[in-house]
Amino acid sequence: MAETDGRGGTRRLRKSDISARRDAHGAAQGTGGTARVRRTASQQQGASPQRTRQAAAQRSAQGSAPVRRSAGKASAPEAARRRATGNVRRLEGAPAGSKEDLRRRGRALASSRRNAVRSVMVSFVLFSVVGLLFFLRPAHSDLEKRDLTPFPEFTWGRLVDGSFFSDLSLWYGDTYPLREPMVRLSQGMNALHGIQPKTQMVGGTVNKDELPVDGAEGEAAPVEAVDDKEVIEVPTERYMAEEIQSKIMEGLYVNDGAAYNIYYFSQESVEQYARAMNTCAKNLEGQATVYSIIAPTSAGALLDEQTLEDLGGTDQLQAIKYFHSLYDDAVHGINVYNTLRAHNDEYIYFRTDHHWTQLGAYYAYAEFCRDKGVEPSNIFGREKMTFDGFLGTFYSELGNSDMEARPDYVDAYIPNSTNDMVIWDTDGNEIETNVVTDVSDWNMYSKYNCFISGDRPLSRIDNPLKSDGSSCLVIKDSFGCAFVPLLVDDYQTVWVIDFRYSDRSIPDFVREHNIQDVIFLNAIVLAGTDPVSSALLAQSQNG
């Protein structure tokens, strides 16, 4: 083939018209039309100055000597002849298959290929130029609820081991100015991979541990608390976040625009979690009461028994009983499973998000009050804010169009006593904010953040209507956000620690602030995750 040898092609070019036909024929076959392409370029020299420039540009782009030679060799009479026959209109009348006709077709093909190369080059240039618009580079993605990769810090060490360059690539792609609209487009493209059935199971290939039989009966022996000398390996924040995320999303049952996450039991993590509770209670003996609330997932609270069994997760009621059976007597395990199930015809969990609604949190709160022997405050008499158009974490993960068509809404009840609170961010800055924030203007993925300004290392809410010195500490994951506002009217001070962003000793903190009630509130999937239980155990030791 001509294409494998530049010189062969050149020779062919110089041959007379006999080979022209063969060339045009070859060209039309898609790969062999080299000579004709070049001839077209030289033909156009005489025809249009603009085209000449383009042809010349292309030639120099190729850096190809023979092409230049052949272009220069077109003699004056030959060029004139080509000018005369170069008119495409006139040639259209030429009989099909004739030499002239084939040439015309070859020219059309060559010109479309030139346009193809040009448009690819223009695309590259455009994308590159957009990449240079540094001031448009986003630092945060609302869609993904995360800070995008920062520009890497330069050190010689990082240069030598290659991590500087790989982070640079990551930064460049992650903060590319057009990235977010393209991500949205690509989600639309992914939908073309197949059919979206109404009922789905996404993931779910998970190895779970079997619940111990005695545990399911709630009769296992409590696990030993650890003393302060034991060194607990604490996971990094990022690792914990990744583990938690994969745990939440590892088995999603989707039905009619609502997702439900399945819980898979892991013996070791659960034991470690119970050890944390027992350690904290032991260290706070005589100081405070420790409560533990394990929130079931939406699947556990809402789905019917048969579906749950078919999906193959772990029975959450039995699992919660097992958690509790490992607790010492000093830990009040509050079982909120039955009460949530009893209300499963109400809007107690979101359909597009893995959290419970504040109504769901309220039923857990009522169960907590029953254990404590107090009357729950009547939240339904409170001022309520409603935020429409909420698409939560399940939507972010699945991009399900049924969810898009029917988003969730968030009801938030404002405490009677106050809506003010103080938070300390990860850098220790004190910030005044609200128990319930108006998030109407926020994007549709962030509506759940209306509660207590989201997940913070430390927060405090002071109730101006009380001065009895009563206080509680909620150690929580994001399920606690909807729960905390419910306690505000009951205590003079409500403290909140999100253990994922904190490393202080809980017993020390409780003694320091003379707190009476310590409430651990975790979603069951998180409580059963290694990094979570390790972090909690480490924080349950005395400092």
Binding site: E3, G6, S64, R114, E144, K145, I195, N207, V254
Partner: protein, 473 residues
């Protein structure tokens, strides 16, 4: 740096191509060399020393061979080349493997510390060895300019993921390239097709395979029969589309600037037999082993035991080249057995369709060995695929994965055949006579590259989608 990244596509490639286009002919190779070294250093600058050093050794050995007075001197230079390059390959690639096995056997050394594998070392080592061996055989002349040899082995087109380009293929083109308009077009088109294959198909297939048959997570036991097959079929598609896409992009990048690399894949899943599969799969590797190991050992024109020995050497090496782990050796041995079976027992006795199906089945089962480094998981996979697992026939999760990816499955399977290029060919033939066909053909030729590029870019951005539900602010 990988081809399918924003950094490569919209920073590296435009800069290098622009510089290449702007400089006079005699400097174009310098642009390529500097670009290639930058490209290579992206994966860890210190390993640039390795490739520079290996090229230097090979350059010296080749010159020594060409100038060698005696056969013995020439042979010594070849041996030196092999010892140095294979020694370095063994050190970087196989130290961890040998030490961990030693540790398992005798409990020593206590801590297995393996060196980090330099990117592309398996590819450029073989390229340089083939060069020196070809000089030894008198097939090519030794390259007098060191930097040109370095350019040959470090050229970013093929340096890190193949194909293993022979020096003889490009020896003339290093000095003199004359890309014509059609080369530029075909190169650009080939690159865009490869990019799309990688980003639109291979990555999507990989994500289905990873969700159905995730290696190394211990969660495989829960996978039912159909889940195994669906997962392995997607893996089969992924591995071909991914690998051949890299070769497509390399061939395209080369062609744009006038290099003509040989094809590396020829629709391997359409193979008529296992032997045929290996004629079509990673051709540059199998032909390397054929030309530099199998034939020197005596090939097939020898007694049966010697032939079997030759085959065993080639296939165990092939397996081991793919990775430093027992499962790759097993994978090589698996093909050894199949090829011997084919030669001595089957020998074209099967009807063509049966033979095709069996070959494809053998390949899919072979990928099980390739995918799972742990023998426990491998056993689970075979048990599951032969219906011996205790997890039933199917599940809602498998059903969902199938429906959600059914079009992807069909399109990816078609992409493994030659349907696309045969349609293009028909269009080209029709365009010679028929006016509408001509219109369609010119339109197709114009739109395919740019549309694939833009769509792939969008999908590439989508692949970085990583919702972090817990970093809320």
């Amino acid at each position: 740096m990988v081809f399918s990244s924003f950094m490569f596509l919209f920073v590296f490639l435009p800069v290098v191509m622009l510089a290449y286009w702007l400089v006079p002919d005699k400097f174009k190779n310098y642009v390529l060399l500097v670009g290639s070294l930058v490209f290579y250093s992206w994966g860890g600058p210190r390993y640039v020393l390795l490739i520079v050093g290996e090229a230097l050794v090979s350059w010296l050995c080749a010159l020594a061979i060409e100038r060698g007075q005696t056969q013995q001197a020439r042979r010594m230079a070849l041996v030196a080349e092999c010892v140095v390059l294979l020694g370095l390959l063994a050190y970087f690639k196989y130290t961890g493997f040998f030490l961990s096995n030693l540790h398992a056997l005798v409990g020593w050394p206590a801590d297995v510390v393996a060196p980090v594998l330099p990117i592309g070392i398996s590819f450029y080592t073989f390229q340089l060895i083939s060069y020196v061996a070809d000089v030894y055989r008198g097939k090519v002349h030794a390259q007098p300019a060191y930097w040109k040899l370095l350019l040959y082995c470090s050229l970013f087109h093929q340096c890190i993921a193949g194909p293993i380009v022979r020096y003889e293929t490009v020896s003339r083109e290093i000095d003199e390239r004359h890309p014509r308009a059609v080369d530029v077009y075909e190169g650009v088109r080939r690159f865009c097709v490869g990019l799309a294959k990688k980003v639109l198909l291979a990555n999507a297939c990989a994500s289905v395979a990873d969700s159905l048959v995730p290696a190394g997570t211990g969660s495989l036991a829960a996978q039912p029969f159909f889940g195994w097959w669906l997962g392995m079929i997607f893996y089969t598609l992924q591995i071909y589309l991914d690998f051949s896409a890299y070769s497509d992009m390399a061939i395209g990048l080369g062609r744009m600037v006038g290099f003509h690399y040989l094809e590396n894949f020829d629709h391997p899943y359409l193979a008529k037999s296992v032997q045929d599969f290996w004629r079509r799969w990673h051709i540059s590797l199998s032909s390397f082993f054929r030309d530099y190991v199998y034939i020197p050992l005596g090939g097939s024109r020898c007694s049966r035991p010697v032939y079997i020995r030759n085959m065993a050497v080639v296939w165990l090496l092939t397996g081991f080249w793919h990775g430093a782990s027992w499962n790759y050796l097993l994978w090589g041995a698996y093909y050894l057995v199949l090829l011997l079976l084919e030669r001595f027992f089957l020998a074209d006795r099967l009807p063509r369709p049966v033979s095709r199906i069996l070959a494809l089945l053998a390949v899919v089962l072979g990928w099980v060995l390739f995918r799972f480094e742990s023998f426990g998981e491998m056993g689970m996979a075979f048990a599951g695929m032969f219906g011996l697992g205790a997890t039933g026939i199917t599940s809602l999760a498998v059903h969902t994965a199938f429906l959600q990816n059914v079009f992807l499955l069909v399109v990816s399977a078609i992409a493994c055949t030659g349907l696309g290029s045969s349609l293009r060919h028909r269009l080209a033939v029709g365009a010679r006579k028929d006016e509408r066909m001509l219109k369609a053909y010119t339109l197709e030729e114009m739109l395919v590259p740019v549309v694939l590029l833009v769509v792939s870019t969008i999908a590439l951005a989508g692949a970085s989608y990583n919702p972090f539900i817990y970093f809320q602010f």
